[in-house]
């Protein structure tokens, strides 16, 4: 009892020095801690964004500008887009962009359509063998692709798809991750909406297409974005499947550019920028979905 009654008298004494500081806090931080935090953020900014900016700067420097001058000149003295044109002289860069677009678009469509269909069936339809099917999809998540790539290459060769874009797309046409993400999304939907559709005599396909699918648009966007990004960025598998330089995707083509053709770092830098800028633009305009994909993919998948 004494301690309880004592509290009101001791608290005000301890509180006064704290009150003015608390007023100055931003996001629950003292000005000193805040300054340290911003300093650390600035250092991390240099480490994380610096390399991109330096590469961008190199790609814009003219032929007479010394790119090995130190301290480095971040703003080009004579900015030019010439290096971007020279990428096109060294490699068929438009063709590579088109190839990458075909691969990434195809992977996005198949992952969304087939991933959603499979995810829906696993989440909502009861059938014998469902657990087995689930295990198969889970296995594709657990087995690293690198472990089976030699055998997958033999399969692709058997199908006559070596050196084709179809051969690049097919193994990742529907990933286990896409299916699991869709499965989780459908599982989280309340049953009641679909039950109403069942009473109305809707078929499974109608329920899926017109009732369930429109409710999981957010996850579908996440699957679309990640499928596109993975396919656009993928390097090892296209490097294995594609043999003729004309068929290369952009990542393989850019590596080829740096390895075989030119020792001019300005052109290589321009090539890397061509490959990364579309994705960075997409990311900065649709960040929400990128972050959501990490959360759902890592935590639930």
């Amino acid at each position: 009892m004494t301690t309880v009654t004592a509290t009101p008298t001791t608290l005000p004494q301890a509180a006064p020095p704290k009150t003015p500081r608390r007023r100055a806090k931003v996001g629950g931080q003292t000005p000193g801690a805040l300054a340290v935090r911003y300093l650390l953020l600035a250092i991390m900014f240099l480490i994380m964004a610096g390399p991109f900016l330096y590469q961008l700067s190199t790609s814009l420097k003219g032929p007479t500008e010394n790119i090995f001058a130190y301290p480095p000149q971040l703003i080009p003295r004579e900015p030019t887009l010439e290096n971007y044109a020279r990428v096109g002289d060294a490699i068929p860069v438009w063709r590579y962009i088109a190839n990458s677009l075909v691969v990434a678009t195809a992977a996005t469509i198949t992952n969304c359509v087939f991933g959603a269909m499979a995810g829906y069936a696993l989440a909502r339809l009861r059938f014998a063998g469902r657990n087995g099917v689930f295990l198969v999809f889970l296995a594709t998540v657990i087995i690293p692709f690198e472990v089976i790539m030699v055998s997958v290459f033999l399969t692709v060769r058997g199908l006559g798809l070596v050196d084709t874009l179809a051969g690049v797309v097919l193994p990742t046409a529907v990933t286990g991750l896409s299916i699991l993400l869709m499965y989780n999304a459908f599982k989280a939907l309340p049953l009641s909406v679909e039950e109403a559709a069942v009473i109305d005599g809707a078929s499974e396909w109608q329920r899926f297409r017109h009732v369930a699918l429109p409710s999981v648009r957010g996850t579908l966007t996440v699957v679309a974005i990640f499928s596109f990004m993975f396919a656009w960025d993928e390097f090892l598998w296209p490097l294995i499947v594609l043999k003729t330089p004309d068929n290369f995707t952009l990542t393989v083509g850019i590596q080829y550019l740096s390895g075989t053709f030119t020792s001019d770092q300005r052109v290589v830098a321009a090539g890397t920028m061509i490959a990364v800028i579309p994705l960075l633009v997409a990311f900065f305009s649709m960040q929400r979905f990128f972050f959501r994909g990490v959360g759902e993919g890592a935590v639930k998948g």
Partner: protein, 292 residues
């Protein structure tokens, strides 16, 4: 809900199932079978028992690749468990500009490893920016051959892996941090616990399962390392290929000119066992630490 026709659910799963079986399950089974044969890309395939595995045991290239890959995981995994957590704590408070910083730190995740590799290959040259900065700060007196010395190349690749992975795991941790009750921190603060103490006794225990997840994900990723080493060394894996990793070697042996599919399959299975083994060991280590 029960379907009116038994095969309707199968129609839903069929496309995905066909892809999964043809391009994952069967190749996995095939990898196991081929590893006991002398199959080559252009034919052959006589059963040779454990010959491939015996050959692995005395293959210096394979041991070098295995050593490099394990070293890779041992260095990279702890860094990817701890650094993104510190980064997540740094970007957690909702203060002005934080959305921007989070996005910038995540942006390497969006880029292809080829792009990231080429960017760092330019920075890590002996006449590159990193050597200039290190020399200016007097950390080193002579430029370091980050890309042309096999050991340094391997460590440079590890650095690139960590740099590219930071943002991804940062977001994973941010999601988990949002679930740590504020009261825990406040209670510890009232008890007079400093920032480090609060980190060790409040944040770490509540994030244990997330740290475990990040550890497993980064272990699996570390054993698959290929593009970093390939791009930084322009496809050579350093002088004499001494920075080769397992995936690098599997590609060379199984898909190169020799096309030793059977032998490469044996290596692939070793890679699989190592990946699963290290992931499980990591889980076990974590459990024991938690129990202690």
């Amino acid at each position: 809900m029960r379907s009116r026709r038994w095969f309707t659910p199968w129609l839903f799963v069929a496309p995905a199932l066909v892809i999964a079986v043809v391009f994952y399950i069967l190749p996995f089974v095939n990898t196991g079978i081929l590893s006991f044969t002398d199959a080559r890309a252009l034919g052959g395939g006589t059963f040779t028992g454990l010959e491939n595995y015996a050959r692995l045991a005395s293959d210096p290239q394979f041991w070098l690749a295995t050593r490099n890959t394990i070293l890779y995981a041992i260095v990279v995994v702890p860094l990817l468990v701890v650094l993104p957590l510190l980064l997540a704590i740094l970007v957690q408070p909702q203060i002005p500009g934080m959305g921007f910083f989070r996005s910038v730190f995540y942006s390497p995740v969006v880029a292809s490893m080829v792009v990231v590799g080429l960017i760092w290959a330019w920075l890590l040259r002996s006449d590159g920016l990193v050597n200039y900065i290190f020399q200016t700060l007097r950390i080193i007196s002579e430029p370091l051959p980050f890309l042309t010395d096999a050991t340094l190349l391997l460590f440079s690749s590890m650095f690139v892996t960590v740099w590219k992975g930071l943002g991804y795991y940062m977001v994973v941790y941010l999601a988990a941090l949002a679930n740590v009750p504020r009261e825990l921190h406040e209670a510890a603060e009232v008890d007079g616990a400093g920032a480090v103490r609060r980190f060790m006794s409040v944040t770490v225990p509540t994030l244990r399962s997330t740290m475990l997840l990040v550890g497993i994900l980064s272990t699996i990723a570390a054993f698959k390392v290929f593009a970093e080493v390939f791009v930084l060394s322009n496809g050579t894996a350093g002088p004499g290929g001494d920075a080769r990793t397992l995936v690098f070697t599997i590609r060379d042996v199984g898909l190169g000119l020799g096309g030793e599919v059977g032998y490469a399959s044996a290596m692939s299975l070793v890679l699989f066992v190592l990946t699963i083994g290290f992931s499980l060991a990591y889980v076990k280590l974590n459990r024991e630490e938690q129990a202690a």
